[in-house]
């Protein structure tokens, strides 16, 4: 669609204009759906709600409704576009599927007599492809495959790989690690005992060689090897791990509690979390980038396509109507801010 002056882009005006055009042209066009607007009524919303209820055992909230409607509209848009591009015409799956459906309608004595191509044509005439989930899914799939196709192996520059690594730090991060020794105190009165032991250790300037005997036995031992944050949590619990990464090394610190008792820690060495070099994870970066680009191509193509297929809303509730109207025109699902603003605008 060409860029229009701001007023003319207002959704309501847009809808009315198109609606009017269609009313006028109603006599000229067939009942072919390609040029009709996509209509969202309370009936469609009720169906989406019912499906959601069936699987989640509860009604969707307003934001979820918006997402459901958005997804439904997007699918309808892609189905229409795929048809427009003729993707339905040469598709073996769709032809067979519709021929099968027609066979069901045939009187038994005529089974097998009519060639599949005729059955297919007849099925199209009857519009059996309109709401068939398999046909629709297939059309969307073929359209997206066409958009997503990348020719040749994935190529990315060093800056692109570095940027992807940065953007996905959490996934690639090498966790921090620490090597600690600890004194463990189990059983009743742990807090007091641990504090007492701590002052004794400090006043006697004891090193970690006393760890096994200063307190109680501990299943994992008292001198642990270099462990990642996660593994340390498994061994000593969350509080001890937090302390291991916050306290100064080379002295007795604590006490902290775990599921099993109290601990005094001595941190020997610590390695902060770090990002690996691009070379270490090149394969995974390339794979991730390829996936990201594929999804982005589909996303952009979907957004562009939305302009070509107008949406008409006929929804009773004015707030829901406003939300959906906004959705129908915005490139992405509204953020929390926008929802909140719509609420206050009510």
């Amino acid at each position: 669609m060409p860029a229009l002056p701001r007023l003319l882009r207002a959704p309501l005006l847009h809808f009315l204009a198109l609606g009017g055009l269609l009313l006028a042209a109603g006599a000229v066009f067939d009942s072919g759906s390609a040029n009709d607007p996509i209509v969202v009524t309370d009936a469609e919303i009720a169906v989406l709600h019912a499906e959601h209820r069936r699987f989640h055992q509860r009604e969707p909230d307003a934001r979820e409704t918006g997402q459901l409607v958005r997804a439904w509209i997007d699918q309808e848009i892609k189905v229409r576009e795929a048809r427009r591009l003729g993707l339905a015409d040469d598709d073996l799956l769709i032809r067979r599927r519709l021929a099968e459906k027609m066979e069901v309608l045939l009187p038994e004595d005529r089974e097998g007599e009519i060639p599949p191509s005729d059955l297919y044509a007849r099925a199209l005439e009857l519009g059996l492809d309109r709401n068939d989930a398999i046909v629709r899914g297939r059309l969307v799939q073929r359209l997206e495959m066409g958009w997503a196709r990348e020719h040749g192996p994935v190529r990315a520059s060093e800056p692109e790989l570095r940027a992807y690594l940065e953007a996905n730090r959490e996934r690639f991060q090498r966790p921090g690690a620490a090597r600690v020794s600890h004194v463990f105190v189990g059983g009743p009165g742990v807090g007091a005992r641990a504090t007492q032991i701590l002052s004794e250790l400090r006043s006697s300037d004891a090193g970690t060689e006393v760890a096994p005997t200063a307190g109680d036995p501990f299943l994992a031992g008292h001198h642990l090897p270099m462990r990642s944050e996660r593994r340390l949590e498994e061994t000593l619990g969350t509080a001890a791990t937090e302390l291991a990464f916050a306290a100064p090394p080379g002295e007795w610190v604590g006490p902290v509690e775990s599921a099993w008792g109290a601990h005094l820690l001595w941190i020997h060495e610590r390695r902060e979390k770090s990002l690996p070099a691009v070379d270490d994870v090149r394969e995974q970066l390339l794979r991730g980038l390829a996936e990201e680009r594929r999804a982005e191509r589909i996303r952009r193509a979907t957004i562009e396509l939305r302009d070509a297929y107008p949406v008409e809303l006929r929804v009773e509730d004015p707030l829901l109507h406003a939300r959906l109207a906004h959705l129908a025109r915005s490139p992405d699902t509204p953020t929390e801010d926008r929802w909140a603003r719509l609420e206050t605008e009510r």
């Binding site: 699987f55 073996l92 005997t213 299943l219 020997h268």
Partner: protein, 625 residues
């Protein structure tokens, strides 16, 4: 000539030497061969060795998420969310699930039988795409798909046929090669190559034999990336002996560095056939058969979605804990609601262990000398998804909704495998699996040590070097007791068990330990296997954060071969169905008001509370040694 499974004697000697040599040997660990956190006294690693993804035919005909492939499974195991079915026409999952605590290791084990067939049914350009089997596959008619695809796996035909579509171009086996390569690639990509060793994968698959409707399924776990070109499925090798032959020829003896072990599961559904000491044609085992069985199958999965297989109340009437998560199913090839045949002895791990001792009396070799592992058998690529409250099912769209789960209310979220190994590397973990230094849990993460020996101190629990002594003066779980030695002759062996409760998470703390039990099996003078359960230590009211005890066998007979394994019980906690039914507002005191599809919330024979538990691998005692 007496044969034993491989022993690691040199390692124990080296360990003892290391400990005696320097008290600071434990400090300043510079890391081991592969990992920074190498610990010669071993630490526990948690994982799941039984996971199905969209590469398995039943994941798909149960309307699972087609995007939940092996890569997704390994990401889930490390903490990423995954989409659960049903998938709407736009391709969106119904909801997502995420682990609260990642796993240390995992193996994807898809059904090898139909790798190629599934691919054909997904490829519209293939001539087989519209075959009747593929149409049924995609139809969404689950009973029809089950009958079309699962039933062929019950054949007794020595040369099973594949579907006609398999002869197309490319053939099923050619496509299976591609699927297998993708499986292997996913395992390679997810395995942590750095010295942080955060996550380990194993290449694997499931050999799905349901011969004559008996569940004889086994998972094949490979030691490394050197795997055969094709996994040997039931359709290629319908007899266990043939599977063993193929693994030996294509892997273990192939000279490529390949190694593998085999883990049977669901003996509870085998109608007594899992632990029969005979070949399919009825020939009893000879010593060579027994030795091979023990060597190739050193582990059994005794807890998973389709029930617990430790023991059964019918055959162990004095052990009330045998009723834990027993499913009222004996034949998984029957349609739901059909009458089930009665349970048969030989369908539970304890039976197998006992038969194994008896066999050793006859053959000189114990064919059923196996340790215990736990798994999920999940079909959503959700490895390690064992949490009760959030349990979202393990059979794709069949049980991703509460009514669907309640239709199989006796099923459970599955268990975990815990491996005691020096580091989280494939070599270290696989060796531990081989020597059976593993235990199974019913889904939680208590930490359990189990040692046996003739020279332990009665007050070993008070010793800070508990584990070091355990290794130096005896054997860990999965091992065989050393000879008592002259000084200890006539004395009974001592067993030391130490358990730490699962700390859980902030949102869901773990339950304290309630008791430690020991199960002993032995062969009496008449050559019949017996069993007995001992309560070693019971925690005070409310349970303990940790329990430790050293126990000496009061009924020890030095001439009787025996096995001993520890069972650690947690304090009771709510079962998944009680939690989810309560959340859905079901009130069983008013049964008339409970909707039909939730009526199993009130099933009288399913307890609302369970005691989660750990089962250690056994330690064996043989008189001549």
């Amino acid at each position: 000539m007496k044969t034993h499974p491989p022993r690691c004697r040199p390692t124990w000697t080296a360990l003892a030497f290391l400990i005696l040599l320097s008290p600071t040997a434990l400090l300043a660990q510079a890391g081991g061969p592969n990992c920074d956190d190498y610990d010669p006294h071993r630490s526990p690693f948690f994982g799941d060795l039984h996971v199905h993804t969209s590469f398995s035919m039943d994941t798909l005909y149960f309307l699972g998420n087609p995007e939940s492939d092996p890569n997704a499974a390994y990401r889930f195991a490390q903490g990423d969310p995954i989409g659960f079915p049903p998938i709407d026409p736009a391709g969106n999952p119904a909801f997502t699930v995420q682990l609260e605590r990642p796993l240390d290791f995992a193996a994807v084990t898809d059904h090898a039988e139909y790798f190629g067939e599934v691919r054909i049914c997904e490829t519209p350009s293939h001539p087989g795409y519209d075959s009747p089997e593929c149409q049924v596959f995609r139809s969404g008619n689950i009973p029809a798909a089950f009958f079309e695809w699962f039933f062929p796996l019950t054949t007794t035909d020595p040369d099973p046929e594949r579907f006609d579509m398999c002869d197309g171009d490319p053939s099923c086996l050619e496509l299976a090669r591609t699927v297998w390569e993708e499986t292997r690639a996913a395992a390679i990509a997810a395995d942590d190559p750095t010295s942080m060793c955060e996550f380990t994968t194993f290449v694997g698959y499931e050999w799905t034999a349901n011969t004559a409707t008996s569940n004889l399924h086994r998972n094949v776990i490979f030691a490394n990336e050197q795997v055969p070109e094709l996994p040997v499925s039931f359709l290629d090798a319908p007899r266990v002996e043939e599977l063993h032959d193929a693994i030996e020829t294509d892997c273990i003896e192939a000279g490529t560095g390949c190694d593998a072990l085999i883990i049977p599961h669901n003996p509870n559904l085998s109608q007594g056939r899992m632990f029969l000491p005979q070949s399919f044609d009825g020939t009893p085992f000879d010593a060579a058969d027994a030795e091979r069985r023990a060597r190739m199958e050193p582990l059994v999965e005794i807890i998973q979605h389709k029930g617990a297989s430790e023991c059964h109340p019918a055959f162990s009437p004095s052990d009330e804990e045998c009723a834990f998560e027993i499913v009222p199913l004996t034949n998984n090839a029957l349609p739901p609601g059909a009458d089930q045949p009665p349970v048969r002895e030989g369908s539970f791990a304890r039976d197998g262990l006992k038969f194994g001792l008896e066999q050793r009396e006859d053959l000189g070799v114990n064919p059923f000398e196996f340790g215990f592992v736990g798994g999920t058998d999940d079909h959503n690529a959700a490895a390690g998804d064992t949490e009760e409250e959030g349990f979202s099912g393990h059979l794709a769209a069949i049980d991703s909704s509460l009514p669907g789960r309640l239709a199989q209310v006796s099923a459970n979220p599955g268990g975990l495998t815990v491996i005691w190994a020096e580091e989280n590397s494939r070599e270290s973990l696989f060796e531990a699996l081989r020597r059976r230094e593993v235990y199974a849990t019913s889904g939680t993460r208590p930490v359990v040590r189990f040692f046996g020996g003739f020279r332990y101190d009665a007050n070993m629990c008070g010793n800070p070097s508990f584990a070091a002594r355990g290794y130096a003066q005896g054997v860990p779980m999965g091992g065989e007791l050393d000879a008592p030695g002259l000084s200890a002759r006539g004395q009974a062996p001592r067993f030391a068990v130490s358990a730490l409760r699962d700390q859980g998470t902030l949102a869901r703390p773990g339950a304290p330990i309630e008791r430690i039990q020991l199960i002993k099996g032995w062969v009496d003078e008449r050559g019949h296997a017996q069993e007995k359960v001992f309560d070693l230590v019971v925690a005070p009211e409310g349970g303990s954060d940790s329990l430790c005890t050293v126990w000496s066998d009061p009924e020890f007979d030095p001439d009787a071969p025996a096995f001993y394994y520890a069972r650690v019980l947690e304090e009771p906690s709510p079962r998944w169905h009680a939690l989810q039914c309560d959340a859905a507002g079901v009130d069983c005191s008013q049964p008339d008001l409970v909707p039909d599809h939730l009526s199993n919330c009130c099933a009288a024979d399913i307890p609302r509370e369970i005691q989660e538990r750990a089962w250690t691998s056994p330690i064996w005692y043989y008189p001549e040694s």
